[in-house]
């Protein structure tokens, strides 16, 4: 059994890393259960445009992402879903020439303010990628890497690793081989390991960019079940090409589309509709949404 460690205690968040590599986010993250009634929104996007150099990849996105729910971004390829999700944890900064206009507020803080440290952002807003990318180290070291790097001092690192693997529904399969190289696991197991790795640093939000698209249907099903459990403790945003998946598991869905510029043929993404999932899939307000979910294109 675990040593009573929980990912959401204030203790973990209060521990400053031994060497602070930059300014900390100005205000503290709200603990679960104590959210302001007026602030159950985790992300508030306001007319967000994303440019790569002079190319406009995504325009005019305005939406709110609620806490402890699964929000899905769906839409055809090339309409900016992955771009947008990468903006939510400043991973888009890594792409040269990427620029965000408009406002992205995370618990009331402007994510792109000068005062904000992207390293802190990424600690609180974690990410799971499309292709599982475990480190070429042991399973244990994969999970323990994040906490060690950010200076977490849990009562027991072994306990933290076990708890994270349990929450990712992987513990039973790997508990006897924690020292084995992570690359020896199957694809589905590797992806659950990446989820465990992301959980280990006690994030507030988990972003998932098509987490199951590289996996077989059985593994996909397990990951979906996992997400249902995870949303109790974390806010989840998922990009998916799989409409049925979005319909199955998400609470809210945002449908994106792309328009092609006349002369250049450049595609710019835009948000078409954002609503509760059952509304999007049963009574879409926009015809484009309806065409997409009924399979007329995409």
């Amino acid at each position: 059994m675990t040593q009573g460690w929980s990912p959401v205690t204030q203790d973990d968040r209060e521990d400053p890393p031994a060497s602070t590599d930059g300014p900390r986010i100005a205000t503290e993250v709200k603990t679960r259960g104590q959210a302001d009634t007026a602030n159950e929104t985790v992300f508030r996007l306001d007319d967000v445009h994303v440019y790569y150099g002079s190319f406009l990849a995504l325009r005019g996105v305005t939406l709110d992402i609620p806490e402890n729910q699964i929000t899905a971004f769906i839409g055809p390829s090339g309409c900016g879903k992955s771009t947008l999700i990468r903006c939510l944890n400043r991973m888009n900064d890594l792409i040269p020439g990427a620029r965000v206009e408009g406002k992205i507020h995370y618990h009331g803080q402007d994510l792109y303010d000068d005062d904000v440290d992207p390293v802190e952002v990424r600690r609180r807003i974690g990410m799971v990628f499309q292709k599982p990318n475990p480190f070429p180290k042991s399973i244990y070291d994969n999970v323990a890497y994040g906490p060690k790097a950010i200076g977490m001092k849990p009562p027991s690192m072994d306990g933290l690793v076990e708890e994270s693997l349990r929450r990712a529904a992987l513990w039973d399969e790997v508990k006897d081989k924690l020292k084995q190289n992570a690359l020896a696991l199957s694809g589905g197991q590797q992806q659950r390991l990446c989820i465990a790795r992301a959980i280990a640093v006690s994030p507030d939000v988990i972003l998932m960019d098509e987490p199951a698209s590289a996996l077989d249907p059985i593994s996909t099903g397990r990951i979906e079940d996992l997400m249902e459990q995870l949303k109790r403790d974390y806010t989840i945003v998922i990009v998916t090409h799989n409409m049925q998946q979005a319909a199955r598991i998400s609470d809210r869905t945002a449908f994106f589309n792309a328009e092609t510029a006349e002369g250049t043929g450049d595609r710019t993404g835009l948000l078409v509709e954002f609503d509760r999932t059952d509304a999007i899939f049963t009574q879409p307000a926009d015809k484009r949404t309806e065409d997409y979910i009924t399979g007329r294109f995409g």
Partner: protein, 301 residues
């Protein structure tokens, strides 16, 4: 196999042997390529055998315990062996951190679009091709004499060799770092690690096999360089072992060169024996690097 209808024939004789020509060509090319390999290996083998056979009479403990002497019977290469070992030590201690530091900067931190970084990139390739005697002149002018004024010492010799192998180490280091998949870096950053943590805890450990190879390449080049050391005054008649970085010195390649230049036949035998010693020292160094590489290269299974 019973013959099938021509449409389904899969035996070598089927279809009237139409592919026989192609198969013959394939065999001929395979033979030619094997022949190329054989030439390379045979040449190396012949060289090695010739050197061992010629130096055999003098391959004894005398070679390692004696110092050079005017009399071939009493000559040994101890001072040269120690000189070479000291020099390789200096090269390892300076070229490895400098070279890999530069490689890390160029691969992880430098913006490839800036003109000065592209200039650096171009020039490192050029530097790797500069003849070694030019490095000798450089070392003589700046390290032995000139601003550093180190004199004709081990330190000057070692540093000159470092400059010589630095481009090789940098290039090999860059290749090793580039081979680390970007997904690893992304995963590390997405967890909230800083760039330096990502480089030091994920990229570098994964790049160690390639960097060990780079070290092997660098040391192998340095151990045999004669011209720069002659210019730097690796005296050819040194009868003492180096006693510090500021000591005068000689090295195996220089000693070999000196012995070959002497008229007496016995010195040629000594030279061959010294060549064998040089190869053994080189093998020992490479074995350490290979052991290091194998230890850190974790296969996925």
């Amino acid at each position: 196999m019973s013959a099938a209808a021509p449409r389904y024939a899969v035996t070598k004789q089927g279809r009237g042997g139409e592919r026989a020509g192609d198969r013959r060509k394939a065999r001929i090319f395979q033979g030619l390529m094997f022949f190329s390999l054989a030439i390379g290996i045979l040449t190396l083998a012949v060289l090695l055998i010739q050197v061992v056979v010629e130096g055999w009479p003098r391959l004894s403990m005398d070679l390692l315990t004696n110092f050079p002497s005017r009399r071939p019977a009493r000559s040994g290469a101890q001072s040269a062996i120690f000189g070479t070992i000291w020099l390789m030590g200096i090269v390892m201690a300076t070229a490895v951190p400098l070279g890999f530091g530069a490689a890390i900067y160029l691969e992880e931190y430098a913006d490839p679009k800036r003109w000065y970084n592209r200039l650096i990139e171009l020039n490192i390739q050029n530097l790797a091709a500069v003849p070694s005697i030019v490095y000798g002149i450089l070392g003589l002018a700046f390290l032995a004499r000139g601003p550093f004024g180190l004199g004709r010492t081990l330190l000057a010799g070692g540093l000159t060799l470092t400059l010589l192998v630095l481009p090789i180490v940098i290039i090999a280091g860059r290749e090793a770092i580039r081979a680390v998949p970007n997904s690893i870096r992304q995963a590390s950053l997405a967890l909230g690690a800083t760039k330096w943590q990502t480089v030091s805890r994920q990229v570098l450990p994964a790049a160690i096999p390639g960097m060990a190879t780079g070290t092997i390449l660098g040391l192998s080049r340095a151990i045999g360089e004669t011209a720069p050391l002659i210019l730097l005054g690796a005296l050819t008649f040194v009868t003492f072992n180096p006693d510090g970085l500021t000591s005068q010195f000689t090295a195996l390649p220089v000693q070999i060169f000196n012995w070959i230049s002497r008229p007496q036949e016995e010195f040629k035998v000594l030279a061959a024996a010294a060549i064998v010693v040089l190869l053994v020292v080189l093998l020992a160094m490479n074995s350490v690097a290979i052991w290091l590489r194998n230890r850190y290269y974790r296969r996925p299974w």
